[in-house]
């Protein structure tokens, strides 16, 4: 009896149809493919959220402009905020964490591959649900489509009285759904980091990337849960006659604020810790030195994780909390500046005495250091409650948190894109286009967000669809809007670079940066099983040990 080899339906690459490929991607449980799905999905929403930002800025280019109606403007800033936080930055960071953590800790996949796929699709459907509001939210009320309650959706604006129709329900449900996805991914990251590390990799020998993402995942579990609870309470209020936030029936608008911000502030660290993680991998490699003060960096990260759970009400200094509560939250808010400062100093010390190569990833990380310094200091100003009574809810705050999210997080994210693009695609990106992207985006960023502080100091509140002339805000708003177009051009160059390099880029090889962590010892792109042999490590920089057998790290750590 002759045996025939079993032919798999998609054995040869040439015979695969589009449907086969699609089927593979939709049903995949591979952490690398899910990572890429997260990233591509987030890039699509980045473009959508960016267009919303452009609409907002065109409307504000001069006083009494009527580019869009107030109703449309209010939807735009609500959708911009919600999209950028929940459907751009979070998924993109989860994407990188998914892709890189198993590779960095020498594992073949995440701890729970199916949960991983489930989490991604929950997040993906959450985003689609939010945008389906454009079609479905009108309901029978004709009361407007996309949500327009602001991304923190203060009660009682979200009640049936003030938000008839279904737009608020779409907002609530989309965050509820994607929140489950986030919690799933967070559990997965914690489990993976704690139990899937390769032989020899103790917690103290783990790359900082894994540490920072571990703390981030812990924060997600703690922070997203209250948000989910609050969303359920809001649904109960809206449809089952609950009174949690119904101020007419004795409910409390302030309780919503507490629920939202006990999510909202740790959320800032959920977003920024992965940014720190990128910087902590990229800066050493392009300075040619190990990270300075690894144990202190880990300690500072854990400290940030803990303190970040106790600072939420600094978003509520104007709510009338009483002087004792205000004073407490001033203290906790300022305390968090200490570990954050330590991190900046350690990156600085990593650069100190190195040999800096100004490749695109490093350029973005250096800009991040400068910008995050400014963002941190304006954060200290806002942390002084009385100063916040002037600055809070003004354009100064808007400038501050965009400095964190764009100047800090998005810059390191771009750095991460360029740094790991060769690993993910196997192709080298165009350095020229990368640098063009960097400079366009840098100029645009500073035009927009440096000058945005000033109208805030001059009394311009956020979330206004238009403003009066004669307040001294006109020129600044014009400059801010001009900057947006530079940023948009930068993003187009970036996307063009990704596409061009994917098809036309030179082969990257497995280790284009002469780097030190495990992902660089496997092929680019890595095979489905990541490593043919699970590596064994003796130090934090296994590839350094390999490349410098005469002077290995493990002798000193």
């Amino acid at each position: 009896m002759s045996t025939e080899p079993i032919a798999w339906p998609s054995a040869s690459a040439e015979s695969r149809t589009f449907v086969d490929t699609l089927h593979e991607w939709v049903t995949t449980v591979d952490h690398k493919r899910l990572g890429i799905l997260y990233i591509v999905y987030a890039l699509v929403f980045l473009v959508i959220g960016g267009i919303e930002a452009i609409v907002i800025r065109i409307q504000l280019i001069r006083p009494h402009n009527d580019f869009v109606s107030p109703q449309v403007f209010n939807r735009m800033f609500t959708m911009h905020g919600t999209t950028m936080i929940f459907f751009v930055v979070m998924p993109i960071l989860f994407g990188f964490a998914n892709y890189l953590i198993p590779l960095m800790i020498g594992a073949r996949d995440m701890a729970f591959p199916r949960l991983n796929a489930f989490s991604f699709w929950m997040t993906a459907f959450g985003g689609l649900l939010l945008y389906f509001s454009l079609v479905g939210a009108n309901g029978l009320y004709g009361a407007g489509n996309a949500p327009d309650v602001g991304w923190f959706a203060y009660a009682p604006l979200t009640s049936q009285t003030f938000s008839p129709g279904h737009s608020t329900d779409f907002w609530t449900l989309s965050l509820l759904v994607s929140g489950f996805g986030s919690i799933g991914t967070a559990i997965n990251i914690v489990a993976t980091v704690l139990s899937m590390r390769c032989p020899g990799m103790t917690l103290a020998k783990m790359p900082l990337f894994a540490w920072l993402n571990l703390v981030m995942a812990g924060l997600v579990i703690l922070a997203v849960s209250p948000l989910t609870a609050a969303q359920i309470m809001l649904l109960v209020d809206r449809y089952l006659g609950g009174h949690f936030f119904d101020t007419q029936a004795g409910g409390s608008a302030v309780i919503w604020m507490h629920f939202f911000w006990i999510f909202g502030h740790p959320e800032v660290y959920v977003l920024v810790l992965p940014a720190f993680a990128f910087a902590s991998e990229i800066i050493p490699v392009f300075s040619r030195k190990p990270i300075f003060g690894y144990p202190v960096m880990v300690g500072a990260t854990v400290a940030i994780g803990f303190i970040s759970m106790s600072v939420w009400a600094h978003h509520m200094f104007t709510v009338g909390m009483g002087s004792a509560a205000n004073t407490f939250f001033v203290l906790s808010t300022m305390a968090i500046a200490v570990p954050t400062g330590i991190k900046i100093f350690n990156w600085l010390a990593t650069i100190w005495g190195g040999k800096i190569e100004f490749k695109t990833p490093m350029l973005f990380c250096i800009a991040f250091l400068f910008q995050f310094l400014v963002a941190g200091l304006t954060g200290v100003m806002l942390g002084c409650a009385p100063f916040d009574w002037q600055l809070g809810s003004s354009y100064f705050v808007v400038a501050h948190f965009h400095y964190v999210i764009v100047g800090g997080i998005l810059f390191t994210l771009f750095g991460a894109f360029y740094y790991w693009f060769p690993k993910m695609s196997g192709k080298m990106y165009s350095e020229t286009l990368g640098k063009l992207h960097f400079w366009l985006f840098l100029i645009g960023f500073h035009l927009t967000f440096d000058f945005m502080h000033i109208p805030g100091l001059l009394g311009m509140p956020r979330r206004i669809y238009t403003y009066e002339p004669g307040r001294g805000w006109d020129t600044w708003n014009l400059i801010v809007t001009i900057g947006v177009f530079f940023q948009a051009a930068g993003i187009l160059v970036f996307l063009g670079n990704l596409v061009w390099s994917y098809y036309r880029g030179k082969a990257a090889g497995s280790d284009p940066w002469d780097a030190w962590t495990l992902e660089w010892c496997t092929n680019s792109p890595p095979p489905a099983y990541n490593f043919s042999v699970i590596p064994t490590v003796k130090s934090r920089r296994p590839l350094w040990d390999l490349k410098h057998p005469d002077d290995p790290d493990w002798k000193y750590e």
Binding site: D148, Y465, G470
Partner: protein
């Protein structure tokens, strides 16, 4: 070594302090031309204490910025890879406990200093005892206008708050109780005080003691719905005598002549009276602004338009033309009715 370092610091610190103070002062000098809502041009004690604290915070953060910025710039330039690099790796340094300790302790000390300064200002502004001769006002936020009630003086008005000058020798501060009729709002006159939110079912309060007469501008600073942008604030600070006269006038009921009785009939037989009050008549609605002394105000629609007959007529005809999304409905009146109604409103002095 150490003493030289600290001397330099003092010099650098004082220079920075001078620089920041000068630029802040320049900002403040330019205040009214630069902006009528500049937070660095305070004209009342709460705004002044915040301004003082903000200068201190700006000096400290400015100094930190300069030091770290310089270090970063220096290291990025100094430690760049040179063209004639020998290709060898630089010395591998893993860390230093002494250095880590230094840059932990110094920030801790800075934080303690900032915290103490902040805590003092919080206490001084939030724990102020009420004076007997203080003016008491209740401010109620509505979508998208402000209601002001002076319970002790028997005055109800809207959108334009009148308060007396507070003399330093004989202070007459104004205490404002902040309530909301619907959603969250925030009361923010940058030159008089920081903002405080108006939250339904959560009464708040704040106080101001303006030192100079004038009109102080601001606007709602908490997103409250469609027309959040045109929920403008105007505070008229007047010498005591003028303020007292204004109060006397506001306490009078509306005086209506027979010439406008047609307009009054239109007002009282349409939906107007469901929302608006004109004291001394059957109109006693509370959903919209009190109109008893409408013509004593400079603006209508919460500061969105000047109070002229044309604007008034336009506002009644189609409020959305001035303030899209405002809760005042278009009244669907004939031209004659509009003219009569406008004429009636113009008599409400």
């Amino acid at each position: 070594m150490r003493s030289r370092g600290s001397t330099n610091w003092r010099v650098v610190g004082s220079q920075i302090f001078v620089c920041v103070c000068c630029s802040a002062a320049a900002f403040a000098d330019l205040a009214p031309p630069l902006s009528p809502t500049n937070i660095f041009a305070p004209a009342s004690t709460p705004a002044k204490s915040i301004f003082g604290l903000s200068l201190f915070v700006l000096v400290v953060t400015g100094a930190i910025f300069l030091v770290v910025f310089t270090l970063l710039l220096y290291s990025v330039v100094k430690f760049r890879k040179r063209k004639n690099d020998d290709g060898r790796e630089p010395p591998q340094v893993y860390g230093s406990n002494q250095v880590e300790l230094a840059w932990t302790v110094i920030p801790v000390l800075i934080v303690v200093a900032l915290f103490m300064a902040t805590a003092r200002v919080i206490a001084s502004l939030q724990k102020t005892a009420r004076l007997d001769n203080a003016i008491e006002v209740i401010a109620i936020g509505h979508q998208f206008w402000w209601e002001y009630r002076y319970p002790a003086l028997g005055v109800v008005t809207a959108n334009e708050l009148h308060v007396p000058i507070s003399d330093e020798n004989q202070p007459t501060p104004t205490f404002i109780e902040l309530l909301s009729a619907d959603t969250d709002h925030s009361f923010w006159i940058p030159r008089l005080a920081g903002k405080t939110d108006l939250i339904p079912n959560h009464p708040n309060s704040m106080w101001i003691d303006p030192h100079e007469a004038g009109v102080y501008l601001g606007q709602c600073a908490q997103y409250c719905g469609t027309q959040h942008a045109k929920m403008l604030l105007r505070v008229y600070v007047q010498p005591r005598a003028d303020f007292d006269r204004w109060i006397q006038e506001q306490r009078q009921p509306a005086i209506v002549g027979s010439a406008v009785s047609h307009g009054q009939r239109v007002f009282e037989t349409t939906a107007c009276i469901n929302c608006h009050t004109v004291a001394g008549t059957v109109a006693n609605g509370r959903f919209g602004p009190d109109l008893t002394h409408l013509m004593s105000r400079d603006t209508i629609a919460a500061g969105a338009a000047k109070n002229t007959p044309e604007n008034l007529r336009q506002w009644i005809l189609n409020p959305d033309a001035i303030k899209p999304g405002s809760l005042m409905p278009a009244m669907q009146l004939s031209d004659q009715e509009l003219d009569a109604l406008t004429a009636y409103l113009e008599t409400l002095r």
